[in-house]
Symmetry: C2
Subunit: 344 residues, 2 copies
DNA sequence: CTGTTAGCGCGTTCAA
DNA sequence: TTGAACGCGCTAACAG
């Protein structure tokens, strides 16, 4: 009875092989695979399932896609100018969130990093291979804009992370950067800080602008002084140099607000090396608390980003748009949560 | 002349549409797209290219795959028991390396995290959609083994990260964990440390075993004493608890070797909280130096993993196997580099 | 150099 | 409930 299936030339089994072996037609196998239980008898179904398992048959995704005009796949595009485009824990959490939600829904995820200097050779853009795209853009405005325009031209469901929606049919998922910044600034000012220093990356991007705006509002409202310090590439070295120069020129502030945790930790380390007490002489706060902030001493006052949740939500919106034709909203803002500590 | 192409029902243009518009046959367009320059005249080629650009035509990847029986895609499978399967910087660097190499070669990358408790619903495994797979497995041996067996059954080109090759036709790309551990241990012992404590994760995995073996060798060779301390989930809390207990039971060692940087930094923080000088009273070293180790004070003595390079190399081997039928070697070991610091 | 034909594996459609 | 025909978009293999 088990005469062995006739192998397709590719070496992979096809529906037909399974059908032959199970003594049914290919359509029956297809119906079983796609859970159309009403179309096939229980006994037949079990027999087919057993045959599939026994032969180790796996459906050919491309054939299904071609036929159904649906990819059951989404693209994740990360614009970053360093090759290690997954260096940022924020990005990786978002990607994990997207990937897990997609997997739960039986969608595949195509991941691709893009550098702004090489927008050619991007399989995700130059071919039709996904039902939608989720883009995580970093870097200066003009570069983000270039890629964004290209994405919009694809006329494909599109979700942006940490951007503002450009267009009614583009969904943006972001966190409440402004609110988080307001909370931290109030915390500092209410504890007596009146001269604040905010460490910003050399390249401003939307989330940082939001944070700065929030701090500005609090400062003007509560009569505190705010100084922006730009820290180049946000590295330990760049940040420490910028902080040193700023302090030499303007003296010690009451508080240093890191635009993110890395910059805050660099500042703490710099102050420590100068024998300046944190928080005694200068309070320090971070932003975007991830695991590694826990290794700071003193422990960092910061706000936690729900980056994984953002990815999850972004994927959910994208699949909704693909399957129902619309997003639940075009601008989705997730809350952040204040993390107490003893650095401020 | 520009009468507008007839749109395919899917809303996407097809080769045929472009051909019609350019006044050639679909085959000619296909030849242009695939760079078969000998098959088509220069003038025709330019006209076709212009038409493609003007119409914004993008080839349908699934159709090409189905026809050519090749995916031009590879899968990246990450086995991890937490949903945030991209939390580890080692993993993300590897993934970035794989992704970038693949993109350079016009391959797409399918990324999927898998938890050992849910090996069902893994599109990467249950469908035919890539030409090969690169697996990054973490967690206890038995779980890795289960997934590995499943991968092998797919009879698909397979590369493993940080494992030993199981099989002649499986390529393993790993780093010289043993050598790095030997170097660090020699450094410590030659500076007078004779009682060493090694912090290991609760779950042993191959790379950690290699490191322990290396340290053991040095200790027996140079007459030093080694104590293994298991730190549960490697978190800050777990590690500090384990270190505290070990010190209470056995007294201060001369040196604490972290199985990775996180555990080392947790130990430094613990010692600092007890007023114990590093490296004065206890030397501390790490392993797998990534960016965030730079934020340690005192700066961490560690070894740097070339994780990005490992990913690059893994992808290179995988594509070689796909395109030429064989790997350049089945066990590939990349060197690690010693990073000096003042924690030891 | 261009045109024609055929078929990759699957799923829809209709007829039985 | 099942069977047969057809075509999704593309490309290999030829014929002109």
């Amino acid at each position: 009875m088990n005469s062995g299936p006739k192998l397709a030339r590719s070496g992979n089994l096809t529906l037909k092989d399974v059908a032959l072996e199970a003594g049914v037609t290919p359509m029956t196998v297809s119906n079983v695979l796609n859970g159309r239980d009403t179309e096939v008898g229980a006994e037949t179904r079990e027999r087919v399932k057993a045959t599939i398992d026994r032969l180790g048959y796996r459906p050919h995704a491309s054939a299904r896609r071609l036929r159904s005009q649906r990819s059951f796949a989404i693209g994740v595009l990360v614009l970053d100018d360093v090759p290690q485009f997954l260096n940022d824990p924020f990005t990786t959490q978002v990607v994990a969130g997207i990937s897990n939600f997609a997997t739960e829904c039986n969608y595949s995820v195509l991941l691709q990093g893009v550098r702004s200097d090489s927008l050619v050779r991007v399989p995700l853009l130059s071919q039709v291979q996904t039902d939608g795209v989720c883009a995580i853009l970093s870097g200066p405005q003009s570069q983000r804009e270039t890629l964004l325009q290209r994405l919009i031209k694809l006329h494909m469901p599109l979700v942006l992370i940490q951007e503002r929606s450009a267009n009614d049919d583009v969904c943006a998922v972001r966190q409440d950067d402004r609110g988080g910044a307001v909370e931290i600034a109030r915390y500092l000012v209410s504890r007596g800080a009146s001269r604040l220093m905010f460490l910003a990356p050399g390249q401003e991007w939307p989330a940082i602008t939001e944070r700065i705006d929030g701090v500005r509002e609090v400062c003007s409202e509560m009569g505190a002084d705010l100084r922006l310090v730009f820290c180049g590439a946000e590295t330990l070295e760049d940040t420490q140099r910028a902080v040193r120069v700023a302090i030499e020129e303007n003296g010690l502030p009451d508080a240093i607000m890191g635009g993110n945790d890395r910059m805050a930790m660099a500042a703490i380390q710099f102050l420590d090396s100068k024998g300046i007490q944190v928080p005694g002489e200068v309070r320090v706060t971070g932003f975007n608390g991830f695991d590694f902030a826990a290794y700071s001493r003193p422990s960092l006052v910061t706000v936690r980003s729900e980056a994984y949740e953002m990815g999850h939500r972004a994927a959910k919106e994208l699949l909704a748009r693909i399957e129902t034709g619309q997003f639940s909203a075009s601008d989705i803002v997730l809350p952040v949560s204040f993390i107490p500590g003893n650095s401020a």
